[in-house]
Symmetry: C2
Subunit: 456 residues, 2 copies
């Protein structure tokens, strides 16, 4: 039994696998900060060398930013591309960490053993679950069960500026039957989940201008127009009392949920009281005729992500400011067109402007929603075997956010992506004291062995 032997090898090799992860975690590969450029390079070298130790030929490939790592292993069966990223988020505020973020340690906690370090979960720990599964498989069976391309990026946490050009320039080399990405989590920290729909995003910044300079409300108050007042009035109209978004034609292209997916989601028995309760909330705040999971995964949103105007320091200043500004974003689903939504939003704002107030708009990105074509057999094969590892049947789930690389794989390489990962909700990614459960790491490696076995 190839799989059983591989799983046994994974179990016995866990201490060494943790040691290897620790070594990678010690490299402070913060991609957004130029001070860590050499460390990003070191992390790429470390991965090349770690793959080499399994007998996988990989190389560091330069970009105008941090390097990519690409490796190939030939084999029978389907050709999969595995993607992960070796760069990490900055660590500030450093004073909120209980230990040096780049001096990883295994800590005993009331919820079990955790690996504490920046990148432990996002994405070094997750990335290594796949690498370690390949190592065990290779060591037990002498070769890997299918053809695999390894593709590691070093700029995911800083906007992936080199990714699109790199995919375009190396399309032929990187195209596989399906991409696997390990950068997501377990549903409610316990149910294995394969994300098959991700929302898109349209970001927009509005600046309203009234007078040519800040005015004193003692002199102008009452007669002078106040752009904060206008901005509040307009943004206050963004949702109706039932949470429905009021921008014209906003819901064009929003599909009703596929009944089969809806049945799977209902089967998850999502505990929204606990999900919201963890952050001090209780009532789902979206469209009132939708379930909380729909609000999070399959319904579009309009959010005010930032607002500023006038005097915001300590004390008080009776100013009528010349300008007020807001950042607004829309999470998109189905066939919603981010460009049409931007245009409609701008026209809707313009139509509400009173005399003497003008609006300037600035676009901040636009990506449509991604719906994975789950007809590749790997999806059902993987779903079928994950239950055995986690004791809970796996589900096709949605994601409230965007994972742009999955969209690029589709649009540039014509390749579908299967997103599966082992992170937990309390991993504190992007925050101080990031951790990854040893259970996530261990069962994650075993899960990849099961998936490789199932799809080969």
């Amino acid at each position: 039994m190839t799989l059983d032997a591989t799983l046994a090898r994974i179990d016995s090799d866990l201490p060494q696998a943790l040691d290897r992860l620790m070594a990678l975690l010690r490299i402070p590969s913060i991609s957004t900060d130029p001070a860590y450029k050499a460390d990003c390079d070191t992390a790429a070298d470390w991965l090349v060398s770690d793959l080499a130790s399994i007998g996988i030929a990989a190389e560091k490939r330069p970009t105008p930013g941090h390097p990519m790592v690409v490796g190939h292993v030939d084999g029978d069966g389907p050709h999969v591309l595995f993607y992960g990223h070796y760069d990490v988020q900055p660590v500030d505020p450093l004073n909120l960490w209980d230990r040096d973020p780049f001096d990883p340690a295994i800590e005993e906690t009331p919820k079990g053993r955790v690996i504490r370090a920046r990148g432990a979960s996002d994405d070094k720990g997750q990335l290594m679950t796949f690498v370690e599964a390949c190592r065990a498989w290779k060591e037990v069976n002498g070769s890997l069960p299918c053809k695999i391309t390894f593709f590691f990026e070093g700029e995911e946490e800083s906007g992936s500026p080199s990714l699109i050009p790199f995919l375009n320039e190396n399309a032929k080399e990187l195209k596989a039957d399906i991409a696997l990405i390990c950068d997501t989590g377990l549903f409610e920290s316990k149910t294995p989940s394969i994300m098959t729909q991700l929302r898109g995003l349209c970001g927009e910044e509005i600046t309203l201008t009234g007078a040519t300079k800040d005015l004193h409300s003692g002199m102008f108050g009452g007669a002078g127009q106040n752009p904060i007042r206008v901005l509040a009035k307009i943004l206050g109209n963004l949702h109706d009392d039932n949470g429905r978004i009021q921008v014209p034609d906003f819901y064009d292209g929003v599909p009703e949920l596929d009944p089969e997916i809806k049945a799977q989601w209902d089967g998850l028995n999502f505990d929204h009281a606990s999900f919201l309760g963890d952050v001090g909330l209780s009532k789902p705040a979206g469209e009132q005729d939708r379930t909380a999971l729909e609000m999070l995964w399959s319904r579009p949103t309009a959010e005010i992500n930032g607002i500023i105007g006038g005097y915001t320091g300590d004390g008080f200043k009776t100013v009528l400011p010349a300008q007020a500004r807001a950042k607004v974003s829309f999470r998109l689903v189905g066939q919603q067109d981010p460009h049409a939504i931007r245009d409609n939003f701008r026209a809707w704002v313009q139509a509400q402007l009173p005399e003497d107030v003008t609006a300037e708009f600035h676009a901040h990105g636009a990506s449509p929603a991604s719906q994975m074509a789950t007809d590749h057999p790997a999806f059902e094969q993987s779903r079928a075997v994950l239950g055995a590892e986690w004791g809970k049947e796996a589900a096709f789930t949605g994601c409230g956010g965007s994972i742009p690389v999955a969209g690029y794989f589709k649009s540039i390489l014509g390749m579908d992506t299967m997103l599966v990962g082992w992170a937990k909700d309390d991993d504190q990614i992007h925050s101080p004291n990031e951790k990854y459960d040893v259970e996530s790491f261990h069962k994650g490696i075993r899960s990849w062995a099961r998936i490789l076995d199932a799809i080969s």
Copy 2:
């Protein structure tokens, strides 16, 4: 002819009067900045010595902050208290000044000669118009025409922390028949005006809190409540489409304008197109069934003076913030009760909060409107003589702002105040390149001589 001789003396002494003002302007008496504490003291000494040079016994009186200057001259007729302040606003941004703010100079401009310096208009230049009128009167006539108390403050630009205790402790000494304050301006820079109504102010800060921490809109967007959205919705309801304020009982105590005052105001032919046009606006933005002057002087307002929440830096962050904050103020008129308005506003906000959002409130001052009792004969006597100086009949006007000291004179000393001054709209008080027209200074001195003559 006492008055004619005094006016002639004022004309001939103008160069020396300007020299004296220059000396006072050279003292950087910025009251809010501890670095200038000694300079505030020097300015007080200078005033004591300048009054002594006219034969007026004055002294510097300590307070926990900067000193007051108090002087008395006995005389027949009514007892007037003259109030001015010797402290000035900070000068930053210094790079926007065309010269050292404390190196005053007379500059020729297309609109005439101006005195350029911090404090030239607010309030050293204005204050000195009264002192110089007294000097000329004394020099021509050997004594002053009435009993006068001089009262100069050094903390007006930093919130007057010592004023109320000082008035309380020295009430008997300071109480006069009427107070004169020279800290206001000409209506539209040309019509002499005696301000007889000032609006009150109620400042309030609201902080709305949703989740216990900032959330990521990819994870929580749609289901998680967003306090910016709630704040915009509430503040967007502050005015109806006609500019009427929606807080319950807000208009309690708002009187209709006295027909006699309304006739005077109509006679001013206020050019609101030019007033608003100077700052890039065109349409009076208050209650649409009111004139622009009513909006500015006799109608209450609700203004959002500051708002902040979420990410407001460059670029974009898809955050659902835990908090959003706004500073709101109300300009009050007539008998509006600032405390009742604060309570009603808070209840009105509370009533609109959805589940999961709480509000905290912080009070920032509350002062009722001031309506001067114009039955003291000085008001009509002064109004009657100012036309001769300025070539335009003087009017009783309103003021959109507050001049707290006038309220304290009434509430603590039981003394009415006559507010009259010679500043122009383009004096740039509190801003770089502050100036005071030599015309304001010269005719201001002459105006005080006329007023002293009329009321004695």
